[in-house]
Symmetry: C2
Subunit: 736 residues, 2 copies
Amino acid sequence: MPPEPDAEAREPIATTTADQAAPPSPGKARPRSPARRAAKPTVALPEDGRMRAVVDAVLPWVDGGRFAIKRIEGEKIEITAHAFTDGHDQVRVRLRWRAEGAPAINEVEMVATSNDAWTASFIPPGPGRYRYTAAAWVDHFMSWRAELLRRVDASDILLAAQTGATLAEVAAARARGEDRKTLTRWAQTLRKRALAAGKANLGHMDTVEAEIEAIKALALDATLAEVAGRYPDRSFEARFSTGTDSDHFGELPLVVDRTRAGFSAWYEMFPRSAAFEEGRHGTFNDVTERLPYVAQMGFDVLYLPPIHPVGRSKRKGRNNALAAEDGDVGSPWAIGAEEGGHKDVLPALGTPQDFRNLVEKANAQGIEIALDIAFQCAPDHPYVKEHPEWFRWRPDNTVQYAENPPKKYQDIYPFNFETDDWRGLWLELKSVFDHWIAQGVNIFRVDNPHTKAFAFWEWAIGEITREHPKVLFLAEAFTRPKVMHRVAKLGFSQSYTYFTWRNDKAGLTEYFTELSSGLGHDYFRPNAWPNTPDILNEQLHHAPRAVFMTRLLLAATLSANYGIYGPTYELMDGTPRSPGSEEYLDSEKYQVRFWDRDRADSLRGFIGKVNDIRRHHPALHGNRELRFFDTGNDLVIAYAKRDPDGGAAVLTVVNLDATFRQSAWVHLDAGWLGVGGQESFEVVDLLSGQRFNWRDGGNFVILDPADMPAHVLRIEGPGVRAKTTEEASNERSGAT
Amino acid sequence: MPPEPDAEAREPIATTTADQAAPPSPGKARPRSPARRAAKPTVALPEDGRMRAVVDAVLPWVDGGRFAIKRIEGEKIEITAHAFTDGHDQVRVRLRWRAEGAPAINEVEMVATSNDAWTASFIPPGPGRYRYTAAAWVDHFMSWRAELLRRVDASDILLAAQTGATLAEVAAARARGEDRKTLTRWAQTLRKRALAAGKANLGHMDTVEAEIEAIKALALDATLAEVAGRYPDRSFEARFSTGTDSDHFGELPLVVDRTRAGFSAWYEMFPRSAAFEEGRHGTFNDVTERLPYVAQMGFDVLYLPPIHPVGRSKRKGRNNALAAEDGDVGSPWAIGAEEGGHKDVLPALGTPQDFRNLVEKANAQGIEIALDIAFQCAPDHPYVKEHPEWFRWRPDNTVQYAENPPKKYQDIYPFNFETDDWRGLWLELKSVFDHWIAQGVNIFRVDNPHTKAFAFWEWAIGEITREHPKVLFLAEAFTRPKVMHRVAKLGFSQSYTYFTWRNDKAGLTEYFTELSSGLGHDYFRPNAWPNTPDILNEQLHHAPRAVFMTRLLLAATLSANYGIYGPTYELMDGTPRSPGSEEYLDSEKYQVRFWDRDRADSLRGFIGKVNDIRRHHPALHGNRELRFFDTGNDLVIAYAKRDPDGGAAVLTVVNLDATFRQSAWVHLDAGWLGVGGQESFEVVDLLSGQRFNWRDGGNFVILDPADMPAHVLRIEGPGVRAKTTEEASNERSGAT
């Protein structure tokens, strides 16, 4: 406890301890002892030292409560507290939670599990920011009762009965209505009988003994204990405290996002390549017309690269040529020209009204439009003239373009986050999100957030989501692990991952084990992409169909959030600009492409089936309940996800060899899958419709890449798990 | 970053960024853009958003900084920070530490290890309380230099040279004396040559190219970089922040204790049994005469059970009989009688002056007296009359004695830590420590701290050690793990452990692995006791000599702090009050005993040898560097401790079978022991003096309990490890 200089000057809190009778008469006039005088306060004391209960931990937390844990709407949030008190007294512990900024605190009684750990759960009403903590108090009624249960001596029982009567009386004073009457009556009866028995003729031992047993039974009446338990004395309640300032009562932050933050299928496409005729620049209206194509594949987020005017100065040509030729459209990430900047649309794509129409039509088909927010400017962006102070300047009085020597990106000006006008810059950048939110956009993919000031993101995402709790942010931070984690902690709802480069069984197993159960699982929500316009992974170079199938399937079943960049993906474009390069040849980043989306060999049907499987299997809507199984074959990976609510588990078995048929024995743990103790159990291959009988332990599989390189097996779970009494009771607990 | 309502009203900090030239002339009269106007501040902003560096973690910490990590005087304190910034800029990171309450902050440059982790160490000047944290800033000079190294384009190099000149100039403005001159000269030369080369006739390419190479070399001059590096621009330095309040700059607490907190050998004895003639009550003077006996065994802490007047009311008789008989001395833990209480001495033991004399004489022989502080009262303790409000009262107007129904301890009144006069109680209890500190006592063994209010200990230990940094506290909390850990976190310097009940190889291995490398290693300092007056473990019941030898040896080599309760231990008293009981028969807790300390079979010689080995081997002075080795035999345990400073390692091999000879192959890891890569190496048995040649891998041992049940082998280490340049440099860094 930290010193508090003026503690002695404060009034003590006027609360008496329930089971402590007043001391006998020595009175106030009695002189203080020399010892007491010697101890005259010269040191600082805490405000109230009578809080004997301790809340030693509240879990989970991120970085000591510095950042929020993230959960999904409707998800049960399980909290553990470590709580106890000195000596043998009983404590009661309550989980306390509230919406951020709201005065009303909700409480849930916590239940002791083992070793001084207590648990409870709650389900917040919807997306938003919340705070949670735990409080504990020494419960004198429960302590008294626990001791009485073990008392055998008659005189002790009679004294304890009187103490119990006093406790019931003070509980009655806190109670209302019928409960107050019940407690008062009980206290009176208990006291009367205890006093009478104390005076009873000790000659009639049998009668006295029987009466004492009856008094003990009355004192221990379970119904009355329940009534008294509703009116505890919490005067000396202790709360959890965190951080270096021990005065601070530690409420830990929680962010609850809507469902799509935790489960989504993204499809990225360039609107300018959406035209129905070759040679024409695509438009928002073309995209609107292609919505059914996207919906049929089962995607629920359609993500568009920047839709703003593209800079003309230093515009890059096809295949990133230094100089653009006539008619070259440039990179949409070189944002801004005389037509406008981050709040404007490229005229060739259509009007703002066309865009709003696209958003509306998409929503009507269950698809949300996600915009790409890239905070950087082309040299002719209006900001450059209007806010020269937001950029860095070189000694030759030119603006510093983006560079990572010897590489130069002369068509891109980064913002200078150390500008003296950082306030103006932050507010303007935030207003870009506000602008598009006003146009109906609720999902943003943020380009390279880790190259902008971290503090900006924490502030901007905090401000935006406080006003619009449904807005989601995907962080495109392909960088070092600690930086990616920091970006996630700052508030991004989802994060791109290293999945794109995790191609072998060991790499996939290690990475997804880390993502599902490592340090980041409370705040880092993975979004797995087999490809992006920037990353044509080597494994996809000139790859056969099976590779495109398996990479999509891995992303879709290992990660609850995943996405592809199409139509290059479903049309299996695997041509790099040069051997070994991760750049696409004739990349859409620098030119308009025309795609034959109706090609017979398109993967669109397969993708639609995979997304359909995802949608109908809650096991695939989360990441935590993931387990890998031994196959004895490095080219065959097997893993399952199970549904925490007891629905069907989904077991995926993939042949990672795109060329040869592979066989393996998949060694299951049927108990973990919820089908333990059975001779065998039926599994359904959701891709082929075939049914098999599988068993605990080894199961033979053979997978041919020329045919179907994977099984996605549905395993019926134990059914919706019946709620335990505790859980039901916890959920019943209301607000105080 | 949290909102700060009046941030906009504040003056921005007037600092310019070094490598950012002033923007060109648009001037202040230029109208604001519509976008800027639309973004008029309606939201709160942090105080300064330009702090781009991030300190994501500072480790170690305990509970997010809520409690202090503990270290020993002279120990190098290794701190790791996770720090980085957005983009490609370079950061510099400094460890910052200070004595608590002191304004002077010491800084140590941190060194990047891998993956955004940075390390540095420091050695505080002595026992006390300290704070540490880390600060990081984007270093524009280092970033500029790192970019220049990779630049190839001539015009870029010339521009960069000008930028470098500007950076050198602003560094010069922060520098003093010769450094300032050096930097200024360099800036001038660099700028002049860069400008001249820029204007040079492009016809003479060879000359120009050579000059550009020369300019680049000048700009990258390592000595000049070092000078500039001493004057960094830290205007936008970021510090570590903890807890739920992100505004709070997280300084983490550290407690440095004197050496004996980490390495000590305790000997407990009852002064009343110290008499040299049977039948006489022992005195402090007897204890003083017995100091050489204790010193010869090599103990450095002599711990006395309570020395205060013993209560007469409800006094317990021999072997805990409910009623004392005439002449029974009662339990010294039933503290207080009309002669006085916790600040007084039992007259039969002598005078306060006798006690002070004992303390002085002990100190002169290298032994410290530790007192037992048991905060509880006998019914006739003066506190009971003077402060009835400090106790609980029963309905029959008697004071509530200690009980754990159905057990009763009528001779003991616990304090009521929920008393309205808790302030008076706390101050008085603290004054008990102050009293004995004034008598020269600097070590306290606290009886059952976990049955007193936790908040009291944190406050009392904090107050006492702030005034007396050398005072140590041993917590006698034999209770549940989380409670023991909490007690340790509150500030106790050492803690009793479960060692007393860890008797088999698996139990010892698991427990000491946890103690040396588990969660508690930053705050829980184990003190291992084979016996105490309360615990005669079943393994010692009527046990042969070998058991007493091995239990002592295990305690002394597994734990840097250990103790025994004697002379019962060295005289191998293993008689329980009843079969299976942990109580001693004729326990000294309730009666005076007379011991023949000169018995020929006493273990005192063996104990002296073990303590001598401990004293001369720094490897045994700590707990962190512990490793168990496979022996292939559950009855033979082998483990080593090594010296972090490179001195000899100590390998202990113990036969846990007290009856039969056991043999085993001890499988060493010579690399870990610092003797890797050798065919074989010589080990010396410090108990027998024998020398053996051992090797990496398996080594045969055979141990006979009838003879010597253990080897304690000295393995010469690699010698004192030479300090790396980094370490030497870190240690040189002074205060700012």
